[in-house]
Symmetry: C2
Subunit: 336 residues, 2 copies
């Protein structure tokens, strides 16, 4: 993994979904590294878009801000064509992640997670076919793991509508890379957490709610508790995205990205309360109506990704939770 940041100085970089959780962390990092960042975002607040995410540059001494915002759907060619055409690198992070919403409104989920992506790819292919593009995909469509850890050859078995559409979107990306020679990679993310995640509800990650209760010193619910999961701290994930974009070996490939060894949800809850010094939790049986789309234990094998890019996670769970709590203690009002 390159630690040299000169490669992106003054590089025009497009980040879709850049007002959301992961996108904003990436956009701020790129800005701090000297890139000229254009964020494309529909500003759907219910799915994590929050203008405050971009309010505090990582390097306040740097002077003039270099993040431009285009408020548009990534499928709206007219509004975004110029930015896409001029980009030296593209991170396609936009998407909605609520599993329950996708079951209730399949067509809306399709519009956001699938149709927008094929339109976006067609635009990139038309105006900037040689650009390096990294797509943020998800481990979600593996479904209930048939073996652990889950590697990239694991069968695809979408447990909900969101998984169907995310897999279709990833398939488009890989297909365009293979058939049209576009320089595309995809990362299948697991539970990403950290500053700028949505903490108002569980539409983005259950951990958001937990952190909210920790900082408010109130009670949250742990369902089941024995499910094992792996977590990526968002700064590590940003490292992973940047490592992918700069690794030629990653072109045309899909990789799992995880982090430190998995923990049970009960261990996670205990650690959160301990690290934060506040909050408490109630251990409950897993609700019957959610069982149907739950996936049980999940943790990934990301050795292929580490081998291809040299990436390694740096922020362990205790440190990541501490940083998250510190962020929301200071900025929580903007996320409630």
């Amino acid at each position: 993994m390159t630690t040299d940041t000169q490669w992106c100085r003054d590089l025009p970089v497009v980040v879709t979904g850049g007002v959301g959780f992961i996108g904003s962390n990436l956009a701020l990092r790129l800005e701090a590294m000297g890139a000229r960042v254009t964020v494309i975002d529909r500003l759907l607040t219910q799915y994590g878009a929050n203008r405050y995410n971009l309010a505090n540059p990582l390097n306040p001494d740097q002077g003039a801000r270099r993040i431009e915002l285009i408020e548009a759907d990534i499928g709206d060619a007219e509004k975004i064509e110029q930015a896409v055409a001029g980009a030296g690198m593209i991170f396609n992070i936009a998407g909605q992640t609520s599993h329950m919403d996708s079951m209730q409104k399949p067509l809306e989920d399709m519009a956001l997670n699938q149709i927008a992506n094929i339109k976006f790819l067609d635009l990139v292919r038309a105006v900037n076919p040689g650009v390096r593009l990294v797509f943020s995909s998800t481990r979600q469509f593996y479904g209930p793991p048939r073996y652990l850890p889950v590697d990239e050859a694991h069968p695809i078995f979408p447990p909900d509508i969101n998984g169907v559409h995310k897999y279709a979107a990833e398939s488009y990306h890989m297909l365009y890379s293979r058939v049209y020679g576009m320089k595309i990679s995809a990362l299948r993310l697991t539970n990403v957490y950290g500053p700028r995640m949505r903490i108002k509800d569980a539409k983005q990650t259950f951990l958001g709610i937990w952190v909210r209760h920790a900082i408010q010193d109130t009670e949250f619910e742990v369902w089941g508790g024995d499910q094992r999961r792996d977590f990526s701290y968002v700064d590590d994930l940003v490292d992973a995205l940047l490592a992918t974009a700069t690794a030629d070996a990653a072109i045309g490939n899909v990789y799992n990205v995880g982090g430190f060894p998995s923990v049970t949800l009960l261990e996670l809850a205990e650690l959160l309360v301990k690290v934060g010094g506040s909050g408490r939790f109630l251990l409950k049986a897993f609700p019957e109506e959610r069982k149907k789309i739950d996936i049980g234990d999940y943790y990934c094998d990301d050795s292929a990704f580490r081998a291809a890019t040299g990436w390694e996670p740096r922020i362990d769970l205790a440190e990541g939770l501490a940083r998250s709590i510190a962020y929301y203690r200071a900025n929580g009002a903007h996320y409630l």
Copy 2:
């Protein structure tokens, strides 16, 4: 496999895509078995809909026709709700199969093969959630086989846009079966051929074109020639669809359906010319621009399906080709 046909006497059965190749063969069989058949079809002639497909009942002595046609998209709830609500069995066969068209017009392929299906499923779920439903899926999204024969656990790797959308449509069906308890099965079809297939062009199957040249005593092209493929004669496939619909063990499952042992395309071409006593072929190198979305050898392991239903193919390739040629010699004018 049940050979008793009494189970469907007077049963209201819906066949989507019933004016097309497979759907019409199924609708005619059901009619001959005494079912009250309603066909839902958009009548898209470029994808195989041909009113002549339903012109000749299998049993002309039977008296009044029992096939009703609703000209509608399967996503058009208003037009089809009554038929769907009253159905005792549903075969969801509608779809377009052109790989090249899907690459050129991804959104049109999505509308036909994916959006229509989620709308259809939502309607079935709303008005007839307990109905037995069989979906015709495809082996196409396995992509280039990683091992042979291909079983149902083979990785999914859509080689073109059509494959992405067909897999999404199959996933919807399996998801609705699992999450909502609907009685759905899916069959992943391989190369199906026989009377009523499209022979005007290769949008449905390359074998259609070959048969056209055989009956016209003209020259067709064989690309490559050494690719192995398996074939299902359409009457056998209709048997398979009926066997699925009457096997409780098949509910919630996806199965490959093949036929007799695979042959190379060269062997197939030779057999066709020999059986038909006409036509000739030119063996050519595989065109470069098609290689990118071609899948190479393919033949399936359908032992799970045979075990679950007792189904076996009955019409071997020589007999199936002979029957196909006889059909088009008698009826070819309606297909050119």
